[in-house]
C-alpha cells in the first residue's frame, strides 16, 4: 500500500511539473530567443538552448528608436508606476480606515457606490476623462496617469478594509480611552498593523501600472515620454521590424520588474488574489 502511494506520488509530481513547463514554455522560448543570434532565432526554434549565446540583442535593443533609448522608457515607467503606487496606497489606506472603523452618516451608501465602481467598464469614463485632461493641457504629461491615483483605488480600499476588519476593535477602543483621536488611532495603531495589506496593494499597484498600455497610449504621444509598454509596442511595429532578437530582448527586460516582484513576494500576490478575489 505504502509503495503504491509513493509511486502515485511520484507520478503526480512528474505530471504536474511537465504540464507546468508546457504552461510557461512561451516564456522560456522568449527568454532563450533573446540570447540567440538573429540568424538562428527562426531556424532553431525547436531548441531552447542558443547555438551561439549572445547578449548582442540586449545591447542593440537598449538603443531604442528615434534617438530615445530604453533607459528613458524605463525611467518613465518607474516614475509613473512608482509615484502612482505611493499615491494610491497612501490614499487607499486612509479611505479604508474611514470605511472600516468610523460610524458616520451615509457610510453604507458610499460604500455601495464604491463597490459598484469595481464593476464599471472603463469605457464609460475614458472619453470625458480624456476631454478633461485635454482641457487642462495635460496631454503629453504624466499627470493623467498619476494624479487620479492619489484619490484611492476601490480595489485596494476594499483589500485594506478587509484587513482592518480582522484587527481586534479593542485596540481602537483602548487608544480612545487614552484620549487618542481618530487621526491618532489611524496613524499610531492601525497603520503599523496593516503593513502586510499595504505591501500587497503596493505590489499589485506597481504591477498593474507597469503593465498599463491604454493610459500611456491615450496620453503620451512623444517618444521621450513613452513608458516601456508603449515603447515596446512601437519598437515591435510589424511593418518595420527587422531585428527580432532585439524585440525579444527588450520584451524580456520589460517583464523583469514584474517577474522580480513575483519571485520575491509571491506569497503576498497569490494570497492577495485568493482572499479578495481580485481581477485577472
Amino acid at each position: 500500500m505504502a509503495k503504491k502511494a509513493k509511486r502515485q506520488n511520484i507520478i503526480y509530481h512528474i505530471a504536474t511539473f511537465i504540464l507546468g513547463i508546457i504552461m510557461i514554455y512561451p516564456l522560456l522560448w522568449m527568454i532563450s530567443s533573446s540570447f540567440k543570434e538573429n540568424a538562428d532565432i527562426f531556424t532553431t526554434m525547436g531548441t531552447l538552448i542558443p547555438p551561439k549565446f549572445t547578449v548582442e540583442n540586449y545591447i542593440e535593443g537598449w538603443k531604442g528608436f528615434g534617438n530615445v533609448s530604453f533607459a528613458t522608457f524605463f525611467k518613465n515607467s518607474f516614475i509613473v508606476a512608482g509615484i502612482g503606487t505611493i499615491g494610491t496606497v497612501i490614499s487607499s489606506a486612509i479611505v479604508a480606515y474611514g470605511f472600516a472603523r468610523i460610524p458616520f452618516k451615509g457610510k453604507d451608501l458610499w460604500f455601495t457606490a464604491m463597490m459598484i465602481t469595481l464593476m464599471l467598464p472603463f469605457q464609460v469614463q475614458i472619453i470625458p476623462q480624456y476631454i478633461m485632461f485635454n482641457t487642462l493641457n495635460w496631454i503629453n504629461t504624466f499627470y493623467p496617469l498619476i494624479v487620479p491615483k492619489f484619490f484611492g483605488s476601490a480595489f485596494f480600499i476594499f483589500l485594506i478594509i478587509q484587513f482592518i476588519r480582522g484587527l481586534p476593535l479593542e485596540l481602537d477602543e483602548s487608544a480612545e480611552i487614552d484620549g487618542a483621536g481618530r487621526i491618532g488611532i489611524f496613524w499610531w495603531i492601525i497603520l503599523p498593523l496593516i503593513k502586510p495589506a499595504l505591501i500587497t496593494a503596493s505590489l499589485f499597484s506597481f504591477y498593474w501600472t507597469w503593465d498599463d498600455f491604454l493610459g500611456p497610449l491615450l496620453y503620451l504621444n512623444q517618444a521621450t515620454l513613452y513608458t516601456v509598454s508603449l515603447a515596446l509596442k512601437n519598437f515591435a511595429d510589424p511593418t518595420t521590424i527587422t531585428n527580432w532578437g532585439a524585440v525579444f530582448a527588450m520584451s524580456v527586460l520589460s517583464l523583469m520588474p514584474v517577474l522580480l516582484i513575483f519571485i520575491f513576494f509571491q506569497k503576498y500576490l497569490t494570497e492577495g488574489i485568493a482572499t479578495t478575489g481580485m481581477k485577472g
Binding site: I21, P26, Y97, I102, P121, V124, I131, S229, K267
Partner: protein, 296 residues
Amino acid sequence: MNKRERYNNVMGYLFISPWLIGFFIFTLFPIIASFILAFTRYDVLSPPRWIGIDNWFRLLEDTRYHNSLKATFYYVFTAVPLRLIFALLVAMLLKPSTRLAGLYRGIYYLPSLIGGSVAVAVVWRQVFGSEGLINFILGMMGIKGLNWLGNPSTAIWTLIILAVWQFGSPMLIFLAGLKQIPDSLYEAASIDGAKGWDQFIKITLPMLSPVILFNLIMQIINGFMVFTQAYIITSGGPLDTTLFYSLYLYQKAFQSFEMGYASAMAWVLLMIIAFFTALAFKSSRFWVYYESEEGK
C-alpha cells in the same frame, strides 16, 4: 446629535474624502458627461453639437459595429467558460498540499502574471505568425501550418488561447475555495461508495458554486473590456473578426474623434455588462448552493 456622533461624522467624511472627491471627478462626472455626449456630435476641436438620438440610430445601422458586437460576444462566450474550466481543472490538480505546492502554484500562475503585457502580445504575434513557433512545431510533425492571424476563422482563436492561458487568478480563487470544503464530506461519500466523478458532481461543484459565480461575473466583466492584446496582435482584423468592442470604441473616439458616437457605444456596453451581471446573479438561485440556507 451628540458630540461624539458629530465628531465621527466629520472624521468619517474626512477620511473617505480622497475617494469621495475622486469619485465625483473621475467617475460620476465622466459617466454623466458621456451619457450627455452620446446625444451630440463632438470632435474635440469644435464644441459639441446636439443631434438627439442620431448616434443611437447609427448603432443600429453600423455594420462594423455589428461586427464588433459579434466578435466580442464570440470571444466572451468561448474564452470565459474555457478559462474557468481550465482554472478549475488546474486548481484540482494543485489541491494536494505537497512540499512543492508553492512552487507549482507559482509556475501555473506565471502566465497570468505576464499574459496581459505588451511583451507577451508582441511575442504571441510571432508565435502564431506564418513563420512562427506553432507552424514550426506543426512542420516538424509534417503538418502544413496556417496563416493563423490572417485567417478570419482562426485569428480570434489566437486571442482566445491567450485568454485561456491566463487562467491564474480564477485558479487561485478556486484553489482557496477547494481548500474550504471539509474533508469529512469526501470521507462520508467514500464510505457510501461514491467515486471520484460522483464526488466531483455532488460535493465539489455545489460547494464551490458561490466561488464559481464570483469568478464568472468577474471574468465576464473583464472579457467585455479586453483591449491591449487585440490592439497589438490582430488590430481588429482580418475582416473585423477580432474587432472587439473596446477596440472599435477606441478607434471611433481617439482615431476618428467621433466622441459622441463612441460615448453612445460606451453606454451600450455598460448596459450589456449590467445585463449579464444581473443575469448571473438572478440565475444563481438555481445553481448556487449557500450552506447557511441548509439550517432554515
